[in-house]
Symmetry: C2
Subunit: 214 residues, 2 copies
C-alpha cells in the first residue's frame, strides 16, 4: 500500500510522531487537525493529506485519537521492532552516537562499535567494547545487525559499506562526507552530511543579512 | 536576485560544491553538464536548471569552468567569509563538533564551547576552553559570533535560543530534538534531527524488506 509514498511525506512523519508523543505525555486523548495544525505550524489540509497517504486515521468532526495515531505512525515507521546498530568509527561522533540514550527509546540499540585505531581497542562506551574492524565479519555473522552507522573518514567508506552489504547489512546511516557508491546493491542509505547542513545555514545567513539591509 | 530560490535547490548546492572540489583536486579544469551529470547521478537538465537559478555559468558546447563554478557556488553559499560558531552543550556531540576539523576548511570556526556542568569547566577541546553558560552574554558581547550550535537537551533549548537571538546571534544550528519556538524573531535555523533521520531509515528498511519478500 505505502510503496508510492514520496520521501517528502516520509520526512515529515517523524515530526508528527514527536508531536503526538508530547501530546500523549501531556495526557491529551483527542486532537482535531486544526489544533494539531496550529501546534505544528503546518496547514490542517497538509496534515490530512499526509495522513491520508496511510489511509486516514481521522473521523470527521471527531479529530484524531492521539494514542492510536501515535502507535500507527510508529508502526509505519518500523518502530514496532528493535533495530540493532553497529557504529563503524569510534571517534568523537561514533562515541556520541553510542552515548545517546534517546535512540534506544525509539528501539534503535547500539550493539557494537568498531575502529581501526588500536589505541581505542578494549575501551568501552556504555557497555559496548570497541572492537577492531577486522572482527567485523565475525561480529555480523554472530549478531543480528540491522543498521551500520558510518562515522569514519570518507576515504574508506565505500569499501566498508560494500563489505557490510556483502555481510548482509541492508541499511546504512552514513555520516561520511561522501555519496556512497553502492549502485545496484540491495541497501537503503540515509545520509547525514553535517557540512552540507552548515552550508545551507550560511546561505540563509547571507540571504537574511541582505534582507536586513534592504 | 536569489531571493526566490527554493530551499530544495539550495539543499542540492553543497553537493555540487563537493563534487566540484573533488574535480579541482583531480586537476580537472572543464566539465560538460553531461559528464557532471553521470558523476553525480542527476540529469544534465537538472544541473542546468539548478545553476540557471544563479544565472547559469556554462557556455554552450564548452562546459563549465570547474574552478570558477566552484568559487561562485562558494560565494553563493556564503563560504567566502569566515563564520564563527559557539557550541552550547559540551557533551559528546558538542565535543565531536568542536573536534571536527573539516568545518574549518569551509570557513566555519568554533570559537567557544559552553555547558552547565561544572565538571566540564576549564576542560579544553582543540584549544577551546569550556565555559559555563552564565558567561554566554559576556562572550557574545566581546567576540564575533555568527552561529550558535545547540547540542544541549531539548528542555532548555527554547530559552537559550531566545537569549542568543536577544544577544544578536541570528543563526542557530539546532541539534536539540525540538522545533525551536522563535516565531517572529529575526533568526535563521537549520535543524539536524538525528532521531528523525533514523526513523526515515527504518521506514525505508521496512519498505525494502517488503519488496524483497514480494
Amino acid at each position: 500500500m505505502s510503496k508510492e509514498i514520496s520521501q517528502a511525506v516520509i520526512r515529515r512523519m517523524p515530526r508528527y510522531y514527536r508531536y503526538l508523543g508530547e501530546l500523549l505525555d501531556d495526557g491529551v486523548e483527542r486532537i482535531s487537525s486544526n489544533e494539531l495544525s496550529s501546534r505544528m505550524k503546518v496547514t490542517a489540509s497538509q496534515i490530512r493529506q499526509d495522513l491520508n497517504n496511510f489511509g486516514g486515521f481521522g473521523q470527521q468532526g471527531y479529530g484524531y485519537n492521539v494514542k492510536y495515531l501515535y502507535e500507527e505512525i510508529g508502526k509505519i515507521m518500523g518502530l514496532n521492532e528493535q533495530h540493532n546498530i553497529i557504529v563503524i568509527g569510534a571517534g568523537n561522533l561514533g562515541q556520541a552516537l553510542a552515548n545517546y540514550m534517546k535512540f534506544e527509546k525509539l528501539g534503535f540499540v547500539i550493539v557494537g562499535l568498531f575502529d581501526v585505531d588500536p589505541a581505542l581497542c578494549g575501551k568501552s562506551i556504555r557497555g559496548n567494547r570497541i572492537e577492531m574492524v577486522d572482527r567485523l565479519a565475525e561480529f555480523v555473522h554472530t549478531h543480528k545487525v540491522d543498521i551500520a552507522a558510518l562515522t569514519m573518514p570518507k576515504e574508506n567508506a565505500d569499501a566498508v559499506a560494500n563489505q557490510l552489504v556483502e555481510l548482509g547489512v541492508h541499511a546504512i546511516w552514513n555520516f561520511a562526507h561522501v555519496d556512497l557508491d553502492l549502485l545496484d546493491r540491495d541497501v537503503v542509505v540515509e545520509n547525514v552530511h553535517l557540512s552540507d547542513s552548515l552550508m545551507q545555514l550560511s546561505y540563509n545567513i547571507v540571504q537574511s543579512k541582505d534582507k536586513r539591509k534592504a
